[in-house]
Symmetry: C2
Subunit: 147 residues, 2 copies
């Protein structure tokens, strides 16, 4: 049996590329300086995290929130993991944390402008997931039946 030749070009038709573009933003992709690409990969590694994405989504929908309400809205996240996620997001400049010195004290979290633009960037992924979750479920069923 012959091996299939390795294709270096994109293995997709023009129609498929047009369909995929629906999920891409208006701006065309950028050719990056290799040094910047390293930084971007590191940053993507930090941001591509389920809790970061879910916190962005909750804060963009609900505005300013206290820790407890945020935890309820995010769902199954542990207190420790949410604390870590929020701290990393604050450090990255995505979230602003405000301590109100009232009795009892409370702490609010809200998106910064930078966090808001990142949530817009993730918007295509949410749309993709809502439109394609059935295809993913079917693929999983096929895979599991074969395994």
């Amino acid at each position: 049996m012959e091996t299939k030749p390795t294709r270096s070009a994109l293995p997709f038709t023009d129609d498929q590329i047009v369909a995929a573009r629906r999920y891409a933003p208006v701006t065309p992709p950028i050719d990056l300086d290799p040094r910047i690409e390293v930084l971007v990969k590191e940053l993507i590694g930090r941001l591509a995290d389920r809790w970061t994405m879910l916190v962005l989504e909750v804060l963009v929908e609900r505005g300013t929130m206290r820790f407890g309400r945020l935890r309820e809205a995010v769902g199954t996240v542990s207190q420790k993991m949410l604390t870590q996620t929020l701290r990393a997001m604050e450090r990255d400049g995505l979230v602003k944390r405000t301590v109100h010195p009232v009795v009892p004290p409370h702490v609010d979290y809200e998106l910064t402008e930078l966090g808001f633009t990142l949530s817009a960037a993730f918007c295509g992924v949410w749309i993709w997931a809502s439109e394609n979750h059935r295809s993913v479920e079917e693929a999983r069923e096929t895979f599991d039946a074969r395994a």
Copy 2:
């Protein structure tokens, strides 16, 4: 000291919203059925993973690849983690795995059409990261100097 009133509306100006939209796709966000939202959140939790994003990026740029080349291109990933990531992506219908029964045997990975559309959906996040990594670095320096 008074507490700042909690804002339930978006705490951003129209100009900021326009700027953020640059990263969002053409299609407006979808109002989801709450049952579907649970599925979508689960799916986002799976996909929002640094290795999944990096594998998508490498395969969309380079086309079909063998495991070893893919591992080199992804970077610091361990063999075990890359194997797990590719298996999950195959199960989700994002990646096609082809075993060529040659001597010595080899295994190719390539994106499916579904994987290709997901990589387009993540495109906005790459653009965001390449445009905003400096702001994130500055935020980190400020945070670390304060801590």
